[in-house]
Symmetry: C2
Subunit: 490 residues, 2 copies
């Protein structure tokens, strides 16, 4: 395998903005997964470049002129997508090499992930042809490149949303969900690479590229394995001071690791080593899809935090108790407000049935937007408060509250225009079966998210995201102050 | 305080099915929280008994004849709800005692939760009047009784759904949300008691009552504190072999405990003691609202499980890896299927791009209901499998799948009519901002839940609920087998 020579960053850019794409293996069945469904999705997304379907038994496919093979094309395509049976892949790669095609995505499965000798040999053959011809190969067994700015969106959110997120993933399915989830909540994707078995280009190659890409602010990774762990470690350590990396590591348990072997044909590695990796690189570890997306939302939207003190604004004594417990369990603090803040707050809060302080239990915050903005203003001035989490309610018949004008526009406007703004997130829960309430909850979350203010479906998810966010900034600040003392001392 | 004399179980029944209710403190402001909003909610819910508004300055309230005081009523009301300023409460209680009224709910706040000497003295006064007159008092500082079968639903889900859940809670707000959440997902409530500061009747009194109530199958508790911990312990230990108890304990951290003091004026207690409580009683510990509702859904709907082996059916290799990790982290196992099962399954699963085994990665399960039922049938026969978790997808443009007829009715029908059925739950996630997809996800979860098949919005929530469920049954089975060996040995 190509152990020593790594592609340069500029090399990988070619995957994401190809002007022409040849798709090999466009079966005639419209419903089946493969070259044809990729072709259809490119058409749906309005990909502006040229698509060359390769099919020796058809003159055109979906109204697009088809060619019998790569050699017959009128030009050398920027990118080739291979979606044929695995055993036929090496022959195509040899042809790519001969024609001078460099960028290749192998969609096909049937390599080392089968767990057979035949599959392993086939995958080694892919790597050796790549080394021989200097081919840049994404895959096999993966969805390939994704880039909304170039409308290279044959999977994931379609047509997708351009933005600052970079994704490197050994699971196409998870990455499809991630791009959809974050895009619909206002966080666009710059580039995603679904890298599958990573037989040639591996996660460190993509990480090196995305760490240097100025269009990317936050990097999300889903990894099951890595060949050159040391290189991943060094690249991650070098990248985290510049941009956060949020890593969902698959195969952290024995059963998960066994499943990894069937999925991408790789070894998931030792969990202790991965723990050390997180500890020493400052990469943010998450363990499921929602935790991944939630952290990304926080990293992509919030201004830096100066500390771990959360001000919890909501209503309901039980919630205030449970939320406080939850915040502390996540490693954050729920500090007492400053005497100055308490002086402002006390007159706002009834003595009975509410709690003036942190957490703040004041039912009025749910219905009176101005009152909430007053409280946010207090929080943004209070030196003990570094982040704010606001619990919102959707109206329910069970609650004893009157109808009021919609306070949301005023709240959003206040936060967006406030120059003292500290990281502020909202929670709007609804997980019951009333479809109308469910729709109200989702719509309200959406309004905040689209305004760049993260809104989560539960306090627990919100506080976990804030905790990840705070730990990243805390590490950065420690590092900066260490460097400063060092240079002052020197 | 009434330390020695405990009310009998039959005593407490009177709170939940009163034929007449007097409400004291019906202010004229329609929008404010208090007696008036309770009155309005009783009217909305269609409470069939007689309501007596008590207001010395009005002849009628909302078209209902009002009375100046309790003594003027034409009968002794079954239940009195007090919603006046705290300092005026003792006088009313004395009057109740004189008139022979026994069941009293004190809605009013302003007692020990204020943290003032005055508040503490007032609460002691409530307790001593109760002891003197043998009054049964729910509260103060709480929402009181709730019983959908009797339409005593002035808070919580309105009109609510009758069912097998009993709730004992020191937070009205949390309990409102819980009744709404579970009722809308097909799990009805038999009786709920929002007990607030619990100055007279405390959680052990309600637990003793609900443990003996045959209409109640599952007990949910939210507690911040308890005066007689030993009695709670013994009652819980006696109850768990008959019905599961799911306890959300507030104030598990220092900040949470400080908030408890402001909320219900009590001491949250030592966390180590509570851990021992859970360990030794078999009460299920949860730490947030959704975990509470999710566990209740599992306990209320699923048949007993014979072990900890989960069969994970879904699609996507990455998901299969993450789900396996998640199940093992929750203390469950993901066993290999029996050779007989593998023989049936192998021909169903393509060699490349899928995983035949446990977890099962087979895209076809999402679109082909018959295929999913075949797999469930295999799971229900396989001795290694004790529970099944099925990941469902809602269609998204990012996925490469064709439209198919709706497989859900066939799946629900198969599970409901299968006599070998093992505990089976579904996960249908969608947390993005696309409102149509969000609605589809919620509607699909609802369809399963209404059919008595729990469906959760994430795998993590589903597996946590199954883990709670399995630990409860495991403990029961250990206990039974220990008792059997003992009687065989004797």
């Amino acid at each position: 395998m190509n152990k020593t020579r790594h592609p340069t960053s500029s090399d990988l850019a070619g995957f994401f903005k190809p002007k022409s794409i040849a798709i090999i293996g466009v079966s005639r069945s419209v419903s089946s997964f493969g070259g044809m469904s990729f072709l259809n999705h490119f058409l749906k997304a309005g990909y502006p470049g040229t698509i060359y379907p390769i099919n020796p038994r058809a003159d055109d496919v979906q109204g697009i002129r088809a060619y019998p093979d790569l050699a017959s094309l009128p030009e050398i395509p920027d990118l080739v997508m291979i979606a044929i049976q695995a055993p036929a892949v090496p022959t195509i790669l040899e042809e790519c090499g001969r024609l001078g095609i460099r960028y290749i995505h192998i969609l096909s499965a049937g390599f080392s992930e089968l767990g057979t000798e035949e599959g392993a040999i086939l995958e080694k053959r892919v790597a050796s042809i790549a080394a021989e011809h200097n081919l840049l190969i994404m895959g096999p067994n993966c969805m390939g490149p994704y880039c909304p700015a170039a409308k290279v969106t044959a999977w994931g959110a379609i047509p997708g949303k351009d933005g600052g997120l970079g994704i490197i993933s050994q699971s196409g399915g998870i990455t499809q969900r991630l791009t959809e989830q974050v895009s619909s909540l206002g966080v666009g994707v710059s580039k995603a690479a679904s890298i599958g078995n990573a037989a040639v280009l591996d996660s460190p190659d993509y990480l090196e590229y995305m760490a240097d890409d100025d269009d990317i602010d936050v990097i999300a990774m889903y990894l099951e394995s890595v060949r050159d762990g040391r290189r991943l470690f060094e690249l991650a350590q070098g990248a985290t001071p510049r941009k956060p990396i949020v890593l969902l590591k698959g195969g952290q348990t024995q059963v998960g690791a066994a499943t990894v072997a069937s999925h991408t044909g790789s070894m998931a590695g030792n969990q202790c080593l991965w723990n050390a990796f997180f500890e020493q690189t400052g990469v943010t570890p998450v363990s499921c899809m929602n935790e991944w997306a939630d952290a990304i939302l926080a990293f992509s939207s919030l201004p830096e935090t100066a500390g771990d003190g959360v001000f919890i604004i909501g209503g309901g004594g039980g919630n205030s108790v449970i939320f406080s417990d939850g915040a502390v369990r996540e490693g954050l603090t729920v500090p007492s407000l400053s005497p100055e803040s308490m002086e402002v707050i006390r007159p706002m809060v009834p003595v009975a049935g509410s709690i003036a302080g942190n957490p703040l239990d004041l039912w009025e915050t749910f219905v009176n937007g101005d009152r909430l903005c007053d409280l946010l203003d207090v929080a943004y001035r209070d030196p003990h408060v570094h982040m704010v989490i606001v619990d919102r309610l959707i109206p329910r018949i069970a609650f004893h509250s009157a109808e009021m004008p919609d306070p949301t526009p005023g709240i959003i406007d206040f936060i967006r225009t406030c120059d003292k703004r500290k990281p502020t997130v909202f929670t709007i829960d609804y997980d019951g079966g009333d479809l109308e309430l469910n729709a109200q909850g989702a719509a309200l979350r959406c309004r905040f998210c689209e305004a760049g203010i993260p809104a989560y479906p539960s306090f627990e998810r919100a506080i976990r995201a804030l905790a990840h966010f705070q730990r990243y900034h805390h590490r950065l600040q420690k590092r900066t102050s260490r460097n400063q003392s060092f240079s002052e001392g020197a």
